[in-house]
């Protein structure tokens, strides 16, 4: 008879209470981890929306900011908002995204639509006509991570100011 099978009264059974208790302890520890994962996800720790997944980077002049989530997930949309403050009005506004940022990201949508898009070796410049004329001067880029890991790059405007943006994407 195999070692693991024992006779209890008149029943041959491979019951192992010591192992069973360890399994129960491990199960309950696992439930705690699962609850922590769900709680962390609700807070935005694994990307998506959540109070811990918000970052605002302000330009040195204070005239514009970039709001983006620092954590994303592969193929899931990551919204990045470039906002110009102080009642800004532009006949032509330009927002530049560096190549290092775009290497790990696809720009799937730009709102409002850019009137012109110029690609160069160091990045892509989006031009917007009459930005802020009838609405707030805000441009939203819908980014889609194409690989997991950290993508770090820069966002800049026509006056040469730049800020650094870093987004970590989970697989």
């Amino acid at each position: 008879m195999p070692d693991e099978v024992r006779r209890l009264d008149d029943l041959d059974i491979e019951q192992d209470m010591r192992m069973q208790r360890r399994v129960w302890v491990a199960q309950r520890a696992g439930w705690t981890v699962m609850a922590a994962v769900v709680a962390a996800a609700l807070m935005g720790v694994f990307g998506g929306t959540g109070p811990l997944n918000r970052r605002v980077v302000t330009a040195a002049s204070g005239r514009w900011t970039v709001r983006h989530p620092p954590l994303g997930r592969m193929t899931a949309e990551v919204p990045m908002r470039v906002a110009f403050h102080g009642g800004a009005r532009f006949n032509v506004a330009r927002v530049w995204l560096s190549t290092s940022l775009l290497d790990g990201m696809n720009v799937t949508r730009v709102t409002p639509e850019a009137t012109r898009r110029v690609a160069r070796a160091d990045g892509v410049t989006y031009e917007f006509e009459r930005l802020g004329a009838s609405d707030a001067a805000v441009v939203t880029f819908s980014l889609q991570p194409t690989r997991w890991g950290r993508a770090t790059g820069q966002v800049g405007t026509r006056d040469g100011e730049r800020v650094t943006v870093s987004i970590f994407s989970f697989p």
Partner: protein, 151 residues
Amino acid sequence: MESVLRAALVYFMLLVLFNLAGKRAMSETNTFDFVVLLIISEAVQNALIGEDASFTNTVLVVTTLLGLTIAMSVWKYRSARLEKVLGGGPLILVRHGQLFEDRMRMARVDVPDILMAARNGQGLERLDQIKYAVLEESGSISIIPRQESQA
């Protein structure tokens, strides 16, 4: 390589999570549990295939999953310890009509579950007609009735 790694990661993730759910949770599938299982399969599908819906990728994923299933079954056959770690082994819940309440609580099995198994399997009417009630690794409850002379 990515297809195989993805399939392997999903396999082990499901193995861990379903084992954490416990054997009782997986054996009792009512309509709602069935719907949840369907939803899980849909959620996992995207992780398995990703953007690659080619026939080749499908073959790779299925081969990897079945291969891992076979490997696990061989490993469990050769290692009684692994089988116990993954399933906990069979567990006596009732002996000669007496309940092991602490075990039942930990295994999330209550008296109605045992009575249902007794009625379904053996046509028994009362708890004292049960010689042994064993929670099997599959999550089902086996009932061994008392002999007439012992009841």
